[in-house]
Symmetry: none
Subunit: 219 residues, 4 copies
DNA sequence: TATGAATGAGGCTTCATTCAT
DNA sequence: CATGAATGAAGCCTCATTCAT
């Protein structure tokens, strides 16, 4: 009887397009993050979103496009949060510190999004992943520029040379450390950011001698 | 013409098992590295190895097992090279330097293997990838121990606390920098290792002030 | 011409699930009965059902499950028909007579189902066939109980001892005689049941002396 | 070392063809009986026979032919044993009794052979199984003739009519009872044969009244 | 004689995607 | 707007069988 009753009106109400899209994206981000792009199935996504598959396609297109939409949303969210956290007037160490702290806050608040951004690596044959690579490179370049601005004057040419690979390494270290955090969740975002700041700013040579970086210390 | 091109390599016949296994593994490492686990097809691997599919299965088992065999071979190769390069008698900086140099040499000499090790991330539902995660964690731990040994005496408790996350970050930085290298191949392995050494040992704070790490300098 | 012949039945479209499931089961029972489990191919079943293969899987699961579904449907049908034909108030001979007659009517009306139930033997490595063995054993036990009830009082202990193996033999005789019937179809179900009744009730010793069993005669 | 030593001379000696064929047939009968025709693999058979696959094919041909060879050997063995046990001079009951006893002795002594003969049912699409069906029918006919001879004089026409289906049912009952025996092995061949004899000769009607058949009693 | 090496062919299964209602 | 019904295409895997030594 109750089964019958449920069938008397459509399972889901007519919702405004915007709401539906967010529902779907939320579900898709979760499934893609949990399974990875290829093993994720459109069936699971549609079910998890509480939407029929035709709606999925009609709202967000094919699997590639849906995945891209997820990447774009999460990438933009992270980028914006970092942007609004750093202030180009500050010195390099402070900017870095704020950026890292924001990053780890994002990781904490939206672990699926982070997994999504972090998991996929560029792969020949998955051309649509090029956009993700592009996005990463942008971040790397932003950091490089930030450091460049912040070190104008003092920086020797040799330092400048190192800026981009340094930024790349920094991004890699952040990603890896965030993963480590997943397995050791008894740390705060602040603590994680501070850890990373120490590493990249002070270097192991200093740490070994007991010299630590502290927020507010400056360059 | 293109039809003829497909017959590029004539099917060599009746080779001893050992040789065939190596052929297959070589091809599989290449295809898995190029495409990733899921998109790689057994068809492509068998074709690329110049061997029929039943041989794949007869010699190296199902797709999972073949993939694991690739991971094991490449992982063991890298591990061994690094092991034989570092000498636990040396101080930390020197050990790190040698390890990093060997790593980048491996990346240069066996880029497919590197991509393989680097590309796959652990995903729920791909339990066989757990072995890769395990292997990575072992490396992290090895580095942490190395640093721990090398800093005995001087290290404060706080430093010790940081050793494992630091190692994780270091591995991430190496991976990311190696990727950057793929896109800027006009650098030597030695140069890349030196770059990374500067970052992790000196830290950006020192670099900014013109203090660089040099091989042979010691801790 | 033959190309056109293949399109014999136009793909009916958009049928309710219930109808499709029956269509599929009908086809599957036929193919499984004709070929046996292993040689039957999902391709042939899907084609014979006028449905694409994914529908088979979506509606009735993998080959094992589809086969089990066939067994269950046919087994239940036969069991029910016999159940509603016999009446535990009657004496043993009458019950047996009605059961046998119903059995042969089922064989006549649903030869594929009968072949299905009769053909498969339990094999190590086909664990899903255990259910069929179980079902057979249930029938044997039912018959044994029926005879037991019907002979209470008169039966000596020795008779009771024989009830289960006797029932097993009876089932085997029925199966074999039904097969014989397939090759000599110019007999009625009633005639076949009477034949078997004579054998099992009177025994050859009586038959040789011209003593036959007749319906309505009683024990 | 021992592994190496084993390789210094061929794993198997040159054996006369006859011996090899018996080896192979023994293994094949076992595997076919255990798994059934389709699931049995030539790999398992060759391994179980201690012979390489090319030898298998060279000695006994393809899978169908090998299977047929198994059926023929086992079928002939059983037929011969029964033939030499019965004596057409004896009366019907005694012949039947001896035949049944021999049958159950064969089942006891060569259960794989029995399973082989009993398991496969004629299947459209497995044309090579027709020979098995033929063989069964021969047995049925033999029994019918035996009964016919043994009842000449006393038998009414109606009895004659029943002889072939009766024989078919008898064979089915034997098969089924032999299967039951597999699951209740704590009985002797003699006991089983006596059981069956009671059923087919006396019939349930007599049994219910305490009339049993005893060896040596005659018709 | 004897066998390790090798494969064509075919079966099971699933997935992204679309149609008809 | 919304969906249950439907499928082409492709992937993994195994088997009977033969070749070259």
């Amino acid at each position: 009887m109750s089964e019958h009753a449920e069938r008397t009106r459509p399972r889901t109400r007519r919702l405004p397009r915007e709401v539906r899209e967010r529902q779907i994206l939320d579900a898709a981000v979760h499934v893609f993050a949990t399974r990875g792009f290829h093993p994720a199935s459109m069936d699971e996504i549609s079910e998890s979103a509480g939407v029929s598959k035709p709606m999925l396609y009609s709202y967000l297109g094919a699997k590639d496009e849906l995945f891209l939409a997820c990447l774009r949303r999460e990438g933009a969210r992270l980028t914006e949060e970092i942007h609004s956290a750093v202030d180009t007037e500050l010195d390099a160490a402070e900017q870095l510190w704020r950026g890292l702290r924001t990053l780890f806050e994002y990781v904490r608040d939206d672990p699926d999004g982070w997994t999504l951004l972090r998991r996929q690596t560029n792969a020949q044959g998955d051309p649509f992943l090029a956009e993700l690579a592009q996005w990463r490179q942008n971040i790397v370049r932003l950091i490089a520029e930030m450091l460049s601005r912040a070190t104008e004057g003092g920086a020797t040419p040799r330092t400048t040379d190192q800026l981009e690979p340094f930024s790349a390494a920094l991004v890699g270290a952040s990603e890896s450390l965030a993963n480590w955090w997943f397995e050791h969740p008894d740390h705060t975002a602040d603590g994680m950011a501070r850890r990373l700041m120490n590493m990249v700013w002070m270097g192991f040579g200093d740490l070994v001698q007991g010299n630590y970086w502290e927020p507010g210390t400056g360059a």
